[in-house]
Every structure is written in C-alpha cells, then in structure tokens.
C-alpha cells in the first residue's frame, strides 16, 4: 500500500508545519499547566506526602492540612489501643509571624512541631536522624534552602517567631509551602511559640500501621468511636488528596485550568483544521482523480484522517520532548512541578483528539473532490 498520507506529510512538511506546531504547543501548554498546578498544590499536602504516617487523625471536617483545629490529645490513647497501630505521634501545626536576621519585615510561616526521636514519622523522607535530633535543642528550627532569602537567614542565624527567639540549626529541601513558609521545630518548641496551645490538645495525631495496606480498614475502625471527643480519621492518601482538591477547587485554580484547556483546545483546533483544510484543498484535483479511478470517498477520508493522526503524533512527540526539557529546568530551579503518568496521558490524549477533530473538519473539504469538475 502506498503511504500517501505519510509521504505527502514528509514531502510537503512546510504545508503541515503550522498544524504540527499548533498541536505541539497545545500539548505543551496543557502539560506545563497541569504540571505547575499539581506541583504548586501538591505542596499543600507536603506534610502528608513527605511523612511516613499511614493514618491521620484531626478535627472533624478539616478540608486541608493547613486548616486544622485542635483535638483532644487523649485520642492518642484510643489509637494506641488498636492492635494494628505500631506508632503514634502528635503533630502541631500553627500559623506564626517570622522576623529574620536581615530586614525582611514580617513573614507568615507555618510551624510544624514534630517528634524528634530517631524513628519520627513526620517528614521522615526529608530529615535524617541526626538532623532531626538537632531539633531537640530548645528554639531550634529547620528551614528549606529555597526559603532562606524570604526568611532573611542563613544556617546558624537567629530569628524570632511570634516574638520568641529561634535559631536555624539545619537546612533541608522539598518543604516549600503554599501561601507561606514551612518551618520545622520540635513539639516542645512549637508549644513555646504559641501560648494559645493547650498542653492536652494537638492539631493532628499521626500513626503508623503494621501493614500499610490495612490503613483503610484501621481508619474505618477508628472513625466511629467518640469516647475521646470528636475527631476524624483519614488515610494519608485520602487526606493528601483532600488537601490538594481543596486548593485546586476552592481557589478557582481548577476552573482556571479547565478554562485554559478549553481555550488552548479551541485555538489549536482552529489552526490545525485550517491547515489540514488547506492541505486537502491543495491536493483536491489529485483526490478527485483517484475518485474518478474508483478509489472510494471513504478511502480518501481515511487518508485525511491518517494525515491528521501523524500531525498529532509528531506534534505530541515535539511537545513531550520540550516538556521534559522544561520540567528538568523547573526542577533545577526548585519550581514545584509535578505530573502523574495519568495526567500526561490525559494531556496527550486531549491533543490527539484535537488533531483528529481537525481532521474531521478537513474531511468536509473532500466534498469538493468531484471528478466531474476535472472535465472542464
């Protein structure tokens, strides 16, 4: 079979270039947009995703980690009673005001008071045991290296949180937060920083389950009991998802993403379909000749759709390569980008649909391929 679609695409590539670029950029924009939005909003759940806890317990109805209210610390007893739970820790989360060593004005910081023991669950992926142990010193804090400029400090510098002296004992990465700066301290330091914290209350309790696959069952079992006051239980996965969804949808970012996707799709489809229409129109006499020779209209439509498919495939290859490059640059500069294989698939699929819809629009041009019109 003569590969008419591919041969024409290769030979007349200049004619198809606008369509390839349109599909490519549509794909690239979708990928970057989704990557940035998920990247930015995944930092809303950094407390959950960077920790080793399987189950989170907090105030009922909490929509996002940063919106936690305190619960009775006694719930810890209830958790410890469960045979499948191997470790329980408190996690204090508080909003505070930071004054750095350099003149930075007030900086809104989110203080995470965590257990400092060697097998501490919170931020297990970011803190080595020795680094975590440094927090044992009263007033010790650890910050993200990307936040040093914002906070106006360097390692070893002294600053104040809510007017109390703290000093930076360690620097780590991967802590960047949304709408503020994350600062890690020991639970004891966190309590000192906010006098409003009552000693028998905590923002969250986090727990490790013997078999992480059982986290769902354990969470379900704990959820019902109210003997220690009201609280809600989520698996880490549920709570992370809940936090991200809160940010994506309650901030309007989700609607923005969908709106942008629609615009990109529309503009891409207009350019691509016009290019394909022009390409079909340019060969209309040849198509009409084939039809005169008995090649059916359906076979000609297939050629146009195949062309649209290849335009889409080449465009997507280009956008994937460019996206990989841009993501690498973003990671290098600590810009939070993150994209799941499913989201990549969805973006690429959307762009391929764009190319095929444009192909369908171009098929209509084939109606002009009337062989009788060649006899004039």
């Amino acid at each position: 079979m003569v590969a008419l679609a591919r041969q024409t695409l290769l030979y007349e590539w200049r004619r198809f270039l606008p369509a390839i670029i349109a599909v490519g950029f549509a794909g690239l924009l979708q990928l970057l947009q989704v990557g940035l939005v998920t990247g930015i909003f995944s930092s809303a759940s950094v407390y959950i995703t960077r920790s080793a806890a399987d189950v989170w317990v907090g105030f009922p109805g909490t929509q996002s980690v940063n919106l936690g209210r305190t619960i009775d610390a006694g719930v810890e007893m209830r958790l410890r009673m469960d045979p499948d739970i191997t470790r329980v820790e408190q996690f204090q989360w508080l909003d505070a005001d930071w004054r750095g060593a350099r003149d930075t004005g007030g900086v809104s910081v989110f203080v995470s008071g965590i257990e400092t023991g060697p097998r501490g669950l919170m931020f297990q992926q970011l803190l080595s045991t020795p680094l975590r142990a440094l927090l044992n010193e009263p007033g010790a804090v650890i910050v993200d290296r990307a936040d040093l400029v914002t906070l106006g400090v360097n390692l070893g510098d002294v600053a104040t949180i809510n007017g109390r002296r703290v000093h930076v004992v360690g620097i780590t990465g991967g802590l960047r937060a949304l709408g503020g700066v994350n600062v890690l301290t020991a639970l004891s330091t966190a309590r000192l920083l906010d006098t409003a914290i009552v000693s028998d209350r905590t923002t969250y309790l986090v727990a490790k389950v013997r078999d992480p696959a059982q986290a769902d069952a354990v969470a379900g079992r704990l959820e019902g009991a109210t003997a220690f006051g009201s609280y809600a239980v989520w698996t880490a996965e549920q709570f992370a998802h809940r936090s991200q969804m809160y940010w994506i949808f309650d901030t309007g970012a989700g609607a923005g993403v969908l709106f942008m996707a629609a615009i990109v799709f529309l503009v891409g489809a207009v350019i691509t379909s016009q290019t394909l229409v022009a390409a079909v129109a340019g060969s209309i006499r040849e198509y009409a000749t084939l039809n005169a020779l008995g090649v059916g209209v359906n076979a000609l439509r297939k050629v146009v759709m195949e062309q649209a498919f290849w335009v889409g495939a080449i465009g997507l290859l280009g956008s994937s390569i460019l996206a990989c490059g841009l993501f690498a640059i973003a990671w290098h500069f600590n810009v939070p980008v993150e994209i799941s294989p499913a989201a990549v698939g969805a973006c690429l699929l959307l762009s391929m649909i764009l190319a095929l819809v444009s192909g369908l629009a171009a098929i209509r041009t084939l109606r002009q391929a009337d062989p009788a019109s060649l006899l004039r």
């Binding site: 003569v2 040849e286 084939l290 008995g294 090649v295 059916g296 006899l375």
Partner: protein, 250 residues
C-alpha cells in the same frame, strides 16, 4: 483475423441523453437527446468547439455525472441503476481516466502514482508493483519510474497519468484533452500510446479533444456542436486501415 467493425458489439451505449445546467435561474441545455454506441478496440474521438458539451458527454458516459434523461449502458451495466458506491466500484474495476491536467501527487514518484489506485484493487503488493512497473515500461518510462512529478517533463507526466489509468487494465479508457498541454512531439507520443492501447488490448478508448492531430489518428470521430452529434465518421487513417483489411479479406 479481427472481425469487421460493425460486427463488434458496443461496450458503451448512450440513448436519448439530455443534460442542462442552471446558472442564475436560467436553464441552459447542454446535450439534446444524444444517441451513440462506442466499440472496443478503437480510439474514438469526440471533437467540437469549446462549450459544445463534449466534456459533459464524457462525464455522463463515464458515470461521473448523471443525465437528466436517457440511459447509459457500459459493459452491460445500466449506470443509472448504480448508486454512488456501486459506481465507484464499477469505475475501480472497469474504467481508467486521463485528464488535461496530469493531477499527480507531488510527494509520490512515478511508480507510486501508478501503484496507488492499483493498491485498492485487492492485489498482492508484489502484483501491484509488477503491474505498475509494466505499465510504466509500456509508456516508455521504465528508467524514470523513481522520479517525482517535479523532475518529469509535461509529456512524461502525462505518460505517468496514462500508466496510472491503464495499469488497472480497464476495458474503458476516458481521456479529456490529453494533449492540449503538450508540445507537438509529446502530443504525438501520447496519441500513439492511446492508439496502441485501443489496438493491442481491445480497450474502448474515448477521447475528448479539439486537437487536430488527434483527429488524424483516431479510428472514429464524433463531431458535436450545440449539444448534438453533427457527424460520425471513420477517420482518414481508419478508413485506410479498414480498406486495407478488406483487401486482405478479399
């Protein structure tokens, strides 16, 4: 021995063909009750001034257009009774077309141009290539079959178009002004090829042209004016040919 002309049954017959065009609310008749029968193994020429309806007649006889009235029978099929899909199938199996413009895909080389319609016939890839190569060799383009249209001269392009039309081995071959875009030498080559196809393969070749060179080389010339056939006669060369055959028979 070849049977005499009148004894061969017609492969293409038209009876009472009428066609008119409507432009700006005015109906202009193009063909008035045309009747004709065309026989295989002959190069039949439809000749006449511009706008006389000869291209429309070709379109109707080849099944590309439907008449308002009348009947076209091609190879025993009543074309009026075939739907669009059946007509396409009929054309694929039985007819070849050569147009004034060569209408070759710029991206394909000569061999691929010829292979393209063949590949829809359900032949094996090997057969497709074999028949396409043969068709190109028959028109004298064997050594140039890997060149694209941009590398071929006008005459060569028309020969590729002829090879594309005849590689399917159609019983009916239609040509619309096949020589009008060509110089004298190339025009002559095309005429000779068309003639050979009619003679050697027994193909019904119907050609529309006002090229006087073609008139001298056709077996039969139909002259059309204002949508009517004015004259139908065996051409000079054909007359000689027939006469020599008759002598031979006697």
């Amino acid at each position: 021995m070849k049977p005499l002309r009148s004894a061969i049954p017609a492969t293409l017959q038209a009876s009472n063909i009428r066609k008119s065009f409507i432009a700006g609310g005015v109906t202009t008749p193009v063909l008035h009750d045309v009747n004709l029968a065309i026989r295989p193994g002959e190069l039949t020429l439809i000749s006449g001034p511009s706008g006389c309806g000869k291209s429309t007649l070709l379109a109707i006889l080849s099944g590309l257009q439907r008449p308002e009235q009348g009947r076209v029978t091609a190879l025993g099929h009543d074309l009026g009774k075939l739907d669009t899909h059946e007509l396409e199938k009929f054309r694929l199996q039985h007819t070849g077309f050569i147009f004034q413009g060569f209408n070759l895909f710029p991206a394909l080389n000569a061999l691929q141009q010829v292979e393209l319609p063949l590949s829809y016939l359900g032949l094996s890839a090997k057969d497709v290539t074999r028949r396409a190569t043969q068709a190109l060799e028959d028109v004298g383009l064997g050594p140039r079959m890997h060149l694209r249209p941009s590398e071929l001269s006008g005459g060569e392009k028309q020969r590729v178009a002829i090879a594309r039309a005849v590689a399917k081995e159609p019983e009916l071959l239609f040509a619309d002004e096949p020589t009008s875009a060509l110089d004298a030498a190339n025009g002559q080559i095309i005429i000779d090829i068309l003639h050979k196809i009619a003679r050697n393969r027994g193909t019904t070749v119907l050609c529309v042209s006002h090229d006087p060179r073609l008139i001298n080389h056709s077996d039969r010339v139909l002259t059309i004016e204002d949508g009517r056939i004015l004259a139908d006669h065996a051409s000079f060369s054909h007359a000689i040919n027939i006469a020599s055959k008759k002598e031979h028979v006697l």
